[in-house]
């Protein structure tokens, strides 16, 4: 068993990141897109903490906490927009959201 190095964590983070990007690009349902963005943010957090572990200081971890704060704010506003939109247009498919003003 080769010991676990930072490289292993980066690969996992990259995999999660790519999955998130696939989710954002291919799915039609707004909620799933928001979830994929959460996935991407998680991948970024994992990277931050892995590097903070590698360099031995805490900057990465503190920044990861700020990333979680940002993810919470983003999710709240994203879902707010989704509800406001769903109430008027009855649909949450990204393809059908093509009007700037409705």
């Amino acid at each position: 068993m080769v010991p676990i190095t930072t490289f292993h964590y980066l690969v996992v983070a990259a995999a999660l990141f790519v999955l998130g990007v696939i989710g954002v690009l291919t799915r039609r349902n707004v909620v799933i897109i928001l979830m994929s963005i959460e996935l991407i943010l998680n991948a970024v957090n994992l990277n931050l903490v892995a590097f903070s572990r590698m360099w031995g200081n805490l900057h990465g971890q503190v920044f990861a906490v700020f990333m979680v704060v940002d993810a919470a704010a983003e999710a709240a506003v994203g879902l707010g927009i989704l509800i406001a939109f769903f109430r008027n247009q009855e649909t949450i498919n990204v393809d059908e959201i093509d009007l700037l003003k409705w």
Binding site: M1, V2, I4, T5, T6, F7, H8, V12, A14, A15, L16, F17, V18, L19, G20, V21, I22, G23, L25, T26, R27, R28, N29, V31, I32, M35, S36, E38, L39, N42, N45, V49, S52, R53, G56, L58, Q61, V62, A64, V65, V68, V69, D70, A71, A72, A73, E74, A76, V77, L79, G80, L82, I83, A84, F86, E90, T91, I92, N93, D95
Partner: protein, 210 residues
């Protein structure tokens, strides 16, 4: 590490064959060198990262949004455990409380309140999904090349961070210590401002009659 896991098991079954397998299993759990915390072992790492990636795949493939939400929760908790392995217990705690306990409940609320599930019976992937996939593969290729080339740049060592005072040091970084301003106190205030803006935005958008 030659002793078998369960003495009873050893008596019941053939001795030599089991002894070797069990010791293999036992070696997975116990850490290779003494100072590494027991959790940071290859077995747990591959288990958790496999769980995280599997959860990620489920999130983007399931038709029903609630299944996606559950899969995302599995990913979040797997990643939280990865943080524990990276000697970051505080971040793991925040991840579980804020992410899995807070944001995911928000997602489930919205899915249920606005019963999006009824509106999501039609196609899952949009028409141009091959282009999306191709772009993602290009991105993956970019990552791989970056890793292969940049392998030598980073010092490949794992400094054992003191896990005991992790929370203490993060607090010092955030709030400052013995009168001195911490390095991140200012950014901490901006983050709280950001949250305030987000709260107001979310409330104003969802209220029926302001």
């Amino acid at each position: 590490m030659n002793s078998a896991f369960f003495p009873a098991l050893q008596l019941a079954l053939a001795r030599p064959f089991i002894a070797s397998n069990v010791s293999f299993l036992a070696s997975l759990i116990t850490p290779p060198n003494a100072d590494m915390a027991p959790v940071a072992t290859p077995f747990f790492f591959y288990l958790l990262s496999g769980l995280a990636v599997a959860g990620g795949v489920l999130v983007i493939t399931r038709r029903n949004p609630v299944h996606c939400a559950l899969a995302l929760i599995v990913t979040l908790i797997a990643v939280a455990n990865l943080y524990l392995m990276l000697y970051a217990p505080f971040v793991a705690g925040v991840q579980i409380i804020v992410y899995a306990g807070g944001i995911m409940v928000l997602f489930l609320f919205v899915i249920m309140l606005v019963n999006i599930e009824r509106a999501s019976k039609d196609r899952r992937f949009n028409r141009i999904w091959p282009a999306g996939l191709a772009a993602a593969c290009a991105l993956m290729a970019l990552f791989v090349s970056a890793f292969v080339k940049g392998r030598t740049l980073f010092p490949d060592r794992m400094i054992k961070l003191p896990e005991i005072s992790n929370t203490q040091e993060i607090a010092n970084a955030l709030y400052g210590e013995a009168g001195r301003m911490g390095q991140y106190t200012f950014t901490f205030e901006i983050a709280s401002l950001l949250l305030l803006v987000a709260i107001l935005g979310a409330v104003i958008m969802t209220k029926k009659r302001i």
